[in-house]
């Protein structure tokens, strides 16, 4: 059984937004190998964003990006004003 891709709007309900999912997939595919985040890191980032109060309607309110697109770029950081939540060294419970 294959795990279902998370919904790009809420990142976890499993009810996909087909149009946005396609846009995110195409966006990821267009990124060069080095630029594009690996699958494991990508999933980790989305999981963190899924628990963040800054995610509204698939969008990060701190930068305006679709989370599924921003998380796909290796060099991008999490813009949370309390600290980069994607950084492995920063635990979520240590930032405001």
């Amino acid at each position: 059984m294959t795990a279902r891709a998370p919904c790009p709007r809420c990142l976890r309900t499993g009810q996909e937004d087909a149009e946005l999912s396609k846009a995110i997939r195409l966006y990821r595919e267009a990124l060069d190998g080095d630029t594009r985040c690996g699958e494991g890191e990508y999933s980790r980032r989305l999981e963190i964003c899924g628990d963040c109060e800054g995610m509204v309607n698939a969008t990060c309110v701190h930068c305006g990006c679709y989370i599924g697109m921003r998380a796909a770029v290796t060099a991008k950081r999490c813009p949370h004003p309390g600290g980069d939540r994607w950084r492995p060294s920063v635990k979520k419970d240590t930032v405001a």
Binding site: Y27, V56, N57, A58, T59, V61, H62, C63, G64, C65, Y66, M69, R70, V73, P79, H80, P81, G82, A96
Partner: protein, 488 residues
């Protein structure tokens, strides 16, 4: 050498500082994140307003702020945005981005923001989906200093004293998102709604009617004929379209050339609408408020398209400067303009990302032009050489001059040519000046911009090649630049 003449002893119209005004809508991250982050945010703030944004806007002496829209205004019900924040209505912003609007920024927060910025408030009321009573009560809530249900409600919400409200827009884009009205219908609606936008407690409101979209001269004709006697201002909206390529940063000289040339259409539009206004209002009592302008590009890749978030390049600074010079030259009629929009939306002066803020090239253009705030326009005689691209051309340089209350003469100049500098020689008649100094804004590439990684790629530097001797000013402007020169 290209020559120009400035008559320093012949002042024309006063350049209203409100020409350098701003527009901020509940759209994307303009109000929320751009200005308002809430008191509990880790971002340093004053009563919820981010300090870095306040500092940036004070740096360009923001004179007036239009709020809450835009299209949002004609679906905004002001009572949703007062009272305890936790009990304010949460709604979907149907116009922009489909995100939740929690109304945590409302009337009290807007006036606090204006107070912190030291600017005038310009509120745009809801004609499209609101009632006359709703509009009347909003004005009463804001300005009435006596015993009334609305002043009691304001006091209950923590504000005993009324605020000062100088400008009130009676609807927004009522030819489109504000109700899709005909000019005849809107003129009648304007008269009805404006009747109840009353002056209370010594507060005098200047009422601004919804004006034309771009070149809709019939709208201007009908509004002026039917309702000029009840208005103080008439709005005009014109956005510069990026030509051939809508990216904010990825464009070539062809797009640069034609986009800058298209920017100059603002002059033609103001001239045409002003001519109609002159017919009904020859004394120019009614002002033209270009209360939405700027370049409208595609959003940045990867961002929510409903947020209208675009980068801002050197090209945007030149677009702003060309528009400023046009507004200044029309300042007898144009007495307000509001760039769309202040933060994170369209042609912004600041961009934010989390706790970071950057000043865009447009911010730098605004700062260079603060010298014209409230100054007197001077006549400039100048025939510019042409900037050619293929078979087409446009004037290579643009010059505007004013004299301020201290007697200093300020000149703002734009060199549109992407590749070639220009040498200018100016004869200053009527007054003697012994010192010339200036600043210039340019960069190595036409599409350079400031990013969160490199926030100072595009910035001003002192203008080296400027001097004045025996009443003759000589200056060499680099290619693709905006400059400010002060003579004292």
């Amino acid at each position: 050498m290209n020559k120009f003449i400035i008559s320093a002893d012949t002042t024309l119209s006063l350049i209203d500082k409100n020409i350098y005004g701003h527009f901020s809508e509940h759209l994307g991250r303009c109000i929320y994140q751009g200005f308002y982050v809430g008191e509990d945010s880790p971002i340093p703030n004053t009563d919820g307003m981010r300090n870095d944004a306040l500092e940036a806007l004070r740096g360009i002496k923001i004179p007036v702020l239009r709020w809450p829209g835009g299209c949002f205004a004609d679906e905004y019900h002001w009572t949703d945005g007062i009272g305890p924040r936790q009990s304010r209505k949460k709604m979907i912003n149907t116009h922009w981005g489909g995100v939740v609007e929690d109304n945590s920024f409302g009337t009290h927060e807007f006036f606090r923001l204006c107070e912190l910025l030291g600017c005038e408030a310009y509120i745009c009321g809801n004609v499209g989906s609101g009632t006359v009573r709703e509009m009347q009560e909003w004005v009463e809530y804001i300005t009435f200093d006596g015993v009334s249900p609305m002043s009691a409600l304001r006091t209950e919400n923590g504000r005993e004293k009324p605020w000062r409200l100088k400008y009130f827009g009676v609807g927004n884009e009522n030819w489109g998102c504000g109700g899709n009205m005909t000019p005849e219908y809107y003129a009648n609606e304007y008269r009805r709604y404006a009747t109840y936008v009353r002056n209370f407690s010594g507060n005098v409101i200047e009422k601004i009617a919804c004006g034309p979209n771009v070149d809709d001269c019939r709208w201007t004709e009908v509004l002026m004929r039917e309702a000029a006697w009840m208005m103080d201002g008439l709005s005009l909206h014109y956005y510069t379209p990026p030509m051939f390529n809508r990216s904010a940063t990825d464009f070539d000289e062809r797009t640069w050339f034609y986009t800058l040339r298209e920017t100059r259409r603002m002059d033609e539009l103001i001239t045409r609408h002003s001519t109609i206004m002159d017919k009904y209002d020859p004394s120019r009592r009614v002002f033209l408020a270009v209360d939405e302008w700027g370049i409208w590009c595609d959003v940045e890749p990867g961002t929510n398209p409903g947020f209208l978030y675009q980068q801002n390049s050197l090209r945007d600074a030149l677009i702003a400067a060309l528009n400023f010079n046009i507004f200044n030259r029309h300042s007898a009629r144009v007495r307000m303009a509001n760039i769309a929009q202040t933060a994170n939306v369209l042609q912004s002066v600041i961009l934010t990302e989390g706790d970071k803020t950057l000043l865009t090239p447009t911010w730098h253009a605004f700062r260079l032009y603060t010298v014209h705030h409230g100054a007197s326009l001077l006549p400039v005689s100048f025939s510019s050489p042409e900037y050619r691209f293929g078979d087409d051309s446009t004037a290579q340089a643009d010059i505007c001059a004013s004299v301020d209350s201290k007697g200093e003469l300020n000149i703002t100049l734009v060199n549109l040519d992407a590749n070639n500098p220009i040498e200018l020689s100016g004869e200053i008649r009527g007054r003697d000046y012994g010192k010339a100094e200036g600043e210039v804004l340019t960069s190595s590439r036409i599409n350079d911009c400031n990013t969160f990684e490199n926030p100072e790629t595009v910035k001003t530097v002192p203008l080296e090649d400027v001097k004045i001797k025996d009443g003759i000013l000589t200056v060499r402007l680099p290619s693709k630049c905006v400059a400010r020169i002060t003579l004292s």
